[in-house]
Symmetry: C2
Subunit: 236 residues, 2 copies
């Protein structure tokens, strides 16, 4: 399967022109020819089958032969807000793995103990794009610009809100709390965890404290564990 990510395609289009970069890749690297079948995903749930009409190395023309909208639409919406890791590769790894397993939205939070206060969303988003192509997903998870935790905590969210932390106190489990086929926002703290004040503010804003098990997990592992639990519990 030769899959291209074409976010500007519309389901009504009878033809599509690959960009210069994708055309070069299709014709010069993959050596596709006129008549070859390819697949397109638009990142909004559209999955297209197309045939190469003109194998031009700079402006390949495709005839769309079929369109499926809402391809493998997910039953729930998962938004994970995670503090970027000091070593950015750990965050990149999380984005790749979460995309494979299933995620809808990621926010990067800047909290009091964050060691990294910024992250290049464009660059990180390319990792997500590569992962949806690899795992054949028609929906492109949204990666939001870094946001201060205090701002995120006070924003309205239509769904269940959770915060995973390691400070003492009563913790719930997603297994018991999750309302299936719903919308979830889960916060994962930085290497030094959230501060007691941040946790208190989150609880006041309706976030439920959760545990992700007895193991001491790194930030990116905790985020992936949350992603795994939500998808596993929602799997029929």
């Amino acid at each position: 399967m030769q899959l291209f990510y074409t976010p500007d395609i519309e389901p009504t289009h009878p033809q599509y022109f690959l960009s210069e970069e994708e055309s070069k890749h299709a014709i010069r690297v993959l050596r596709l020819e006129t008549g070859s079948e390819v697949q397109l995903i638009d990142g909004k749930g559209g999955f297209y089958t197309a045939v190469i009409h003109d194998a031009h190395p700079k402006r390949t023309i495709l005839n769309i032969t079929s369109v499926t909208e809402g391809f493998n639409k997910r039953s729930h919406h998962l938004h994970i807000a995670v503090a970027p890791t000091k070593n950015i590769e750990r965050l990149e790894w999380f984005l790749e793995k979460a995309t494979e397993i299933g995620i809808d939205e990621v926010s990067l939070i800047i909290s009091q103990r964050s060691e990294r206060k910024e992250a290049k969303v464009d660059r990180l988003s390319k990792i997500i794009t590569a992962a949806i192509k690899q795992s054949i997903k028609a929906y492109h998870p949204v990666l939001n610009e870094p946001v201060k935790l205090s701002e995120l905590l006070s924003r309205p969210f239509d769904g269940q809100k959770f915060m995973a932390h390691c400070e003492p106190g009563k913790k719930l489990s997603l297994r018991n709390e999750l309302i299936l086929q719903s919308r979830y926002l889960i916060l994962i703290g930085p290497e030094g965890d959230f501060t007691p004040t941040e946790i208190e503010t989150a609880l006041q804003n309706g976030f439920k404290p959760i545990t992700l098990g007895e193991s001491r997990l790194r930030t990116e592992t905790a985020a992936l564990e949350a992603c795994f639990e939500v998808n596993f519990l929602n799997r029929i």
Copy 2:
């Protein structure tokens, strides 16, 4: 907490001498002094507390003050046999994450479609050691030398045997099949999956075919998903 991995310590020892390398790390890097408290793990379930008796930079002497055997002993035994990934970093990530989440034994399998036929177990084992220190685990997961799939399939195993594959055919789920608090061996194939013949041989040898969900997962993600599922299902 200053944690050292000391596989040669015994629960009856009243004192312990750190190796030259660990002594240098303790005294020159961590700047620990006589009287400082440290922790030791032996990789076999022993968790020790000790006080520095002589802060010698080449031969630090510790007085053992308490010993806990079977520290955080797991309720089940998970052995994952996975084909080493073409890009070895992906296997390294799996080993680190599986150690954090919980695993007991890893085998590296060489199958017909394996792109990588060898792996340096010594080097990979150091990643596991770093991960048990980071996540404070007293048991060191065992990493076995690479083994041919055909050999592993015919070996006796006292527990449940599963094979995750993407070929057509009936698939079971761990959620329905797993006998809790038991022993498990789970096989994860290479980038190109197991061959139909390998799958057939596995089924004949009592391995049950399982699915890890609808997503197309990379080898290391599939192995980690299996690890997640087994630990999550066994969590009380």
